[in-house]
């Protein structure tokens, strides 16, 4: 109903206007067309001047009104090193074009007014003037030269890639419909390779190539955290369509292209906390963030730098937000230390792990550390019964006394310990759970203990320093009723008998 009423009102308005047009046409005819034209002409000329003044006031006034919301004019100053140069160039261009804008608009409308039609006059026959034409070709040419040179100096300063010797933090941003994934290098400082064919939405969303060990310590962060005053190179990639990595406060923008990595290099110069303090000075930032929720705090407290997408990428283009946090170097190091490697936390031994079921150098090193700690503890133990190191990583083929290949790493730790502590004598013992025939279990555990001792013998440990004994299921350390307990009971131990 409302729609119909509005429609009728609009229709009526148009009819009134058309009638108005007819009436003025008729009245002009009655009054004499020439006079009516002359009067209308004078009126229009005046309106043009009024428009010009109102327009210039509107332009300057509205710019003044919105200055604090625009980047670079109020509290929202550049948060990166190169941003200042861009803002400066913008302002220089603004002043130069502003002068031209005001002068040409004034001349255009003023001439239209001043030289309005007068039936007693004929327009001047001024067809050209070579001097003035050369002058007004040369002046724009000079101004453009100035702006081009100034602009290209800035451009060629901002855009080149980093020198390989430079100390930069490199992170990787990958756009996809409709979010960003941010990947950091781990302690090695290097981002590992990736391949889109390896992408697995659940297990390996970025398609990291885990055969490249540089990927193993990389982590995927839920926001971009960067230390202040440190040069950053962002490697920008895309999984599906074009995106654009846009950090408005840092004056950073670059397309993300599938199959063609791009980059942008910038240096943040202010921490998020300091930037918030900067905003705090302004009343419009001291209002509540959310009037409905007083707990939410003021606007300046809620301010965050943001990453946005600036290349149309589909229906969710407007929602690809990520928070950017600039912190001190110490806070950055602390934050980084808390992050978990993607490989070890999410992909290790899953279907996408090329080393599934295999030991990595880092596992071997970790196990060695673990053994050393247990060994030192056993050496120090008061009670003789506690001087036991359980060899968790010594395993056997099912139902057989043959050592698995990976067991040798743990046994090598044993050998190393025995060689470093030449006075120690030990007992290697085998244990089973309570399933199956007890006698057979006894036999198997004895054989397994022997196999371990044989390995130690083969690697240069004197037979007088050790003996091997199978205990079968007689010495459980855990409840045999549960699978977990049974697993703990199936074990190989290494007991220090004398030091």
């Amino acid at each position: 109903m409302t729609a119909l009423v509005i429609f009728l009102i609009v229709l009526l308005l148009f009819i009134i206007l058309v009638q108005l047009g007819r009436v003025t046409e008729l009245s002009a005819k009655i009054r004499g067309e020439e006079d009516a034209e002359e009067q209308g002409n004078n009126r229009t000329a005046l309106w043009l001047v009024i428009f010009m003044i109102a327009f210039l006031v509107f332009c300057i006034g509205s710019a003044y009104y919105y200055r604090n919301s625009m980047l670079g004019y109020g509290p929202l100053t550049s948060a990166s090193e190169h941003g200042w140069a861009l803002d400066n160039l913008f302002n220089v261009t603004l002043v130069l074009t502003g002068i031209v804008f005001v002068l040409t608009q004034i001349l255009l409308f003023w001439y239209s007014y001043k030289y309005r039609h007068n039936k007693n006059r004929v327009g001047a026959f001024v067809s050209h003037n070579n001097t003035i034409e050369v002058v007004w070709t040369a002046i724009p040419a000079l101004v453009m030269t100035f702006l081009v040179v100034k602009g290209l100096i800035v451009w060629n300063d901002v855009m080149p890639d980093v020198d390989p010797s430079e100390d930069v933090i490199e992170i990787e941003a990958t756009g996809y419909q409709f979010a960003w994934d941010i990947r950091y290098p781990g302690p090695d400082g290097k981002i590992g390779t990736k391949d889109y064919q390896l992408i697995n939405p659940g297990l390996n969303p970025l398609g990291l190539d885990f055969t490249d060990v540089k990927t193993h310590d990389d982590f995927i962060a839920d926001k971009i955290v960067l230390p202040v005053d440190k040069k950053v190179r962002v490697r920008i990639t895309s999984k599906d369509v074009l995106h654009n990595f846009f950090l408005p406060h840092f004056r950073v923008k670059m397309d993300a292209i599938p199959g063609l990595p791009t980059y942008f290099i910038f240096t943040p110069t202010i921490t998020t906390a300091d930037y918030r303090q900067q905003l705090r000075e302004y009343p419009e930032w001291n209002v509540d963030q959310d009037p409905a929720d007083p707990e939410a705090g003021t606007r300046w407290e809620n301010f965050d730098f943001e990453l946005a997408c600036a290349e149309l990428c589909g229906k969710g283009h407007y929602s690809m937000r990520k928070v950017v946090e600039i912190v001190s170097q110490e806070e950055y190091d602390a934050w980084k230390a808390q992050q978990n490697s993607f490989y070890f936390s999410s992909a290790r031994n899953s279907d996408v792990d090329p080393y599934k079921g295999q030991l990595l150098d880092i596992d071997i090193a970790n196990r060695s550390k673990e053994f050393d700690a247990k060994f030192i503890e056993a050496l120090k133990a008061e009670d003789a019964d506690d001087r036991i190191v359980r060899l968790d990583y010594v395993t056997f083929e099912t139902g057989s006394p043959n050592l698995t290949a990976d067991s040798k790493y743990e046994l090598d730790n044993v050998i190393k310990a025995l060689k470093e502590n030449t006075t120690i004598t030990t007992e290697v013992s085998g244990h089973t759970d309570n399933t199956g025939d007890a006698a057979k279990n006894m036999e198997l555990s004895q054989a397994r203990a022997m196999a371990v001792m044989q390995y130690l013998l083969d690697n240069g440990i004197d037979s007088s320093r050790m003996n091997a004994k199978g205990y079968g299921q007689t010495r459980p350390v855990a409840d045999n009723e549960t699978e977990e307990g049974r697993q703990q009971n199936r074990r190989t131990e290494f007991k220090i008998i004398s030091q």
Partner: protein, 618 residues
Amino acid sequence: MANDVLTYDDEVILEEQGFDDHFHEHEHGDHFKSNFVNHYVFSMDHKIIARQFLITGMVWALIGAGMSIIFRLQLGFPEESLTWIKPLLGKWIAVDATTGIGTLMPEFYYALVTMHGTIIVFFVLTAGLSGTFSNLLIPLQLGARDMASPFLNMLSYWFFFLASVIMFYSLFLSTGPFSGGWTAYPPLSALPQASTGSGTGMTLWLMSLTFFVVSVLLGGINYITTVLNLRTKGMSLWRMPLTIWAFFVTAILGLLSFPVLVSGFFMLICDRMLGTSFFLSEIFIEGAALPNVGGSPILYQHLFWFLGHPEVYIIILPAMGIVSEVLSVHARKPIFGYKAMVFSILAIGFLSFIVWAHHMFMSGVNPFISNFFVVFTLIIAVPSAVKVFNWITTLYKGNIRLNTPMLFAIGFVSMFISGGLTGIFLGNSAIDIQMHDTYFVVAHFHIVMGVAAFFGMFAGIYHWFPKMYARFMNETLGKIHFWITMIGAYAVFWPMHYLGIAGVPRRYYSFNTFNSFDDFTALNQFITIAAIVVFAAQVLFVINFFYSIWKGKKMTTKNPWKATTLEWTTPIHTGHGNWEGNLPVVHRWAYDYGKDGIDYVPQHIPLTEEEKAQEGSH
């Protein structure tokens, strides 16, 4: 002296001085084709074809502008219910089951944005503007009976019509029309799984635009041939009005650049349908890794903008030509610096081919390459500035009739200054880092090639309406139309600069996902309201247009504006063949206004003895 108005008896001059091409011997041969279908539908008369282009363009302009109103409502008033528009948009308005609030779906928002751009750029400002006025004015102002090939000219319109039908049909697909932006960058445009609009919608979009290019090429070949071969006796190139120079260069630009676009489209079609990898590489989408490797999406951007940049001059040059002519006629003064104007058009035309990558500074091309494009881009500011200064100086010491066509011409200059100056920011790659793909770009190109080109088109329509329909458009309605459009267009687009400087990206369905962009609710509402008002003014224009065709003030003299060009020497009701008897012979340039104190001397008036003496002394 000042009151001296020479009156000429055109009949006598044409009879005595005109050039007899034996037209009347075949003239009557045309009459066998005078039934309705041949006269108004499959017409080969350039004047009818011009009107067909104009009215088709107006229909498209209303559709394209109407779309912008719908998506502006979403941007300005995202909380308001759009349920009332559901009868029109159907399932694209999602109604919340509990609150009953209808919201425009993002898929269709992007479809509207895409179609708005495609329609306005190609169908309205290329076909509707250049198609209308090149067709109408090239034969009339050159003293030709028709285009070099009236048949190709007719085909040109009907290919445009075919393109229009296909594009219109695509609006009603269940998956929606294409929604990946008017530039149609792959991979988004190449992969149906990337967006609903990239399926059938994109196929139809590509088909439609391919037919459209055929139309442009057929038209362009005709315009060039006509300008080069069918000028009447005495019409040397340097005596052509600036309108013709502008249409001529426009046609050359189109002929050289549109085929490159089509080659890009063909590669895109191959990628979509034949499994090639011109633009696709290493893509993982919808849970699957595609086999394509080695292609480059940037290649498409090069091909697209190799057309895309000349395209903006294809749009603006005809408007510039029209405005030069209208300013001169109604200021009663010669256009200032005629030769400089011609050389500016040629310089802009040439430079438009070597600046395309300024659309791609931030798209991953080698930053070193950008250096060249910055230099060439900012050089364009020089011929553009020359044109602006010449227009302003044309007003200086004139005797200006401030009627509607003149107001739109003045408005054009104002818009071209405002929008052109912001181009100096964007053409400088360092500033473009921040401004690229923000509302600053939207403000820039809407003012400089959207609004300005529309103003040129309006100036042309109001000015040549008597030539087309032998009646005048209503002045009062015209002035209301001008003032609302002038004030409203600035109200819509000027504030967008502020959004852009604040970093707000273009093509955002909603601003409140980001704190950084959420600061301008009132401003966005203001823009939306202004857009609705401007749209209403355009409806008024359309009403005025059709009302005036049948009810407008009748044209009683051949040359109501007292202009010098040849189209005003034809009969009031101009038939096929334009001149009834002899063709006019040209003796002078097109801008003898106020010369020796005489208000105007048309081109076909022979030189006086005095003038001959002057000419000899030069």
